[in-house]
Symmetry: C2
Subunit: 215 residues, 2 copies
DNA sequence: TGTACATCAGTGAACGCGCGTTCACTGATGTAC
DNA sequence: TGTACATCAGTGAACGCGCGTTCACTGATGTAC
């Protein structure tokens, strides 16, 4: 029962979307090819018409997750970054909604410790997603100086660390405090947009568990 | 071929030590019970004389890893923290040696994204290890104010984030820059000990790939 | 102190199960004439 | 435009393999007398 070329392309797209969500939700190793195909109502055999192996899928799924994440919308076509949008998105990054919905969130935060044990293509896709995060942070701390770059790296590390530790801990107070403390720290480190972010924030955070993603 | 009680206790200790190293080196799910027992020259069956299940081992192995890590030595018996020692250890935390030897390093940095999918006892052991890290950071940023606590949380998030992302990325320059930038950021956030740390640092960092652990 | 017996640390084979991957097959789609 | 045939997306069963766990067994250790 062959399908049209359009159907096949759509299937491939759905495999990637589902894989990227399942990997972010449950991790890479614990998610099987059968889990992914089953979630789409398909059987395992067909998977290999679209990808060479599970390993090959992982790298593509991280790329797909990175594309899917709203963070990209902060970047204009010329590679510039809208400051207000960037600050709102980074604030969203440190929200409970993002923490509680890894399946539609940042792949860097979802997979960081697992990726160290994966293949080179996977780690390259992951690195690309890291660079995308750093570009958005560039909207808050611009500049080509070494100091500006160092501050961006600090912010990226703190933001990813906060989300990942907030998800890992069983201490709910600590989990919330981590997000709040780093949100404060990020605003402190980018003083020029602090007020802007504070006023934009409530409208985005209002829904509490709202997804970080639009689509 | 029964062994003495001392032998049995020693075997249990060796299982924990080996498991905690293998989990930190390769992750939890990819390491099997047979891997652990095999590394000790034992067979799988014997494992269940010491632990109820692999899941039960994981929580204990994280505790063991946390105990093993040198960070604890910064704490005095009464719970106080030696400032100079703390600053040197936190500097070591952000060293290449720590990044390149996760098997003897901080379990929080090694397992952070995986632990979110583990059982409650495992996440509790992980949380305890996080609190231990925060206590040591308290040696640099003491105080009971909300602001001091927020700064400690920011530093913890940035430090863990830097190590974990430094391990995950395929970009070696970015990997080194992350460690350096957060080292700078931590010193900036704890100005009173900045000079002390700068003078202590070289002696500890000299060996480059030196382990973070003493033993 | 010596003996008889219960305990149990560790062995090694087996259990059911799910994994990633392969493959013969199907039938609708795409193409050549 | 119609027909004959090649292509290939998806099926479903099977492959070898390693997983976590169980269990009958062993023999040295620990204990009761």
């Amino acid at each position: 029962m062959r399908r049209s070329r359009e159907d096949a392309a759509e299937t491939r797209r759905r495999i990637l979307e589902t894989a990227s969500r399942l990997f972010r939700a449950r991790g890479i190793t614990p998610v099987s090819v059968a889990d992914i195909m089953g979630a789409l109502g398909l059987t395992v055999g067909g998977f290999y018409r679209h990808f060479e192996s599970k390993e090959a899928l992982v790298a593509k799924a991280i790329e797909a997750a990175s594309d899917e994440t709203r963070l990209q919308y902060a970047m204009s076509r010329e590679g510039g970054v809208d400051t207000k949008l960037a600050s709102a998105l980074l604030d969203d990054y440190l929200s409970r909604g993002h923490r509680d919905h890894p399946e539609v969130g940042c792949p860097v935060a979802a997979l960081c410790s697992e990726v160290a044990h994966e293949s080179l293509p996977t780690r390259e896709a992951f690195t690309q997603a890291m660079h995308r995060l750093l570009e958005v942070i560039g909207g808050l701390v611009p500049g080509e100086t070494k100091d500006a770059r160092d501050r961006r790296l600090c912010m990226a590390a703190a933001m990813v660390g906060a989300v990942v530790l907030s998800r890992a801990t069983s201490d709910e107070v600590l989990a919330d405090d981590l997000l709040r403390a780093v949100r404060r720290g990020v605003l402190r480190a980018a003083p020029r947009v602090a007020r802007t972010a504070r006023t934009i924030r409530p409208s985005l955070a209002a829904s509490g568990h709202k997804s970080v993603r639009t689509k």
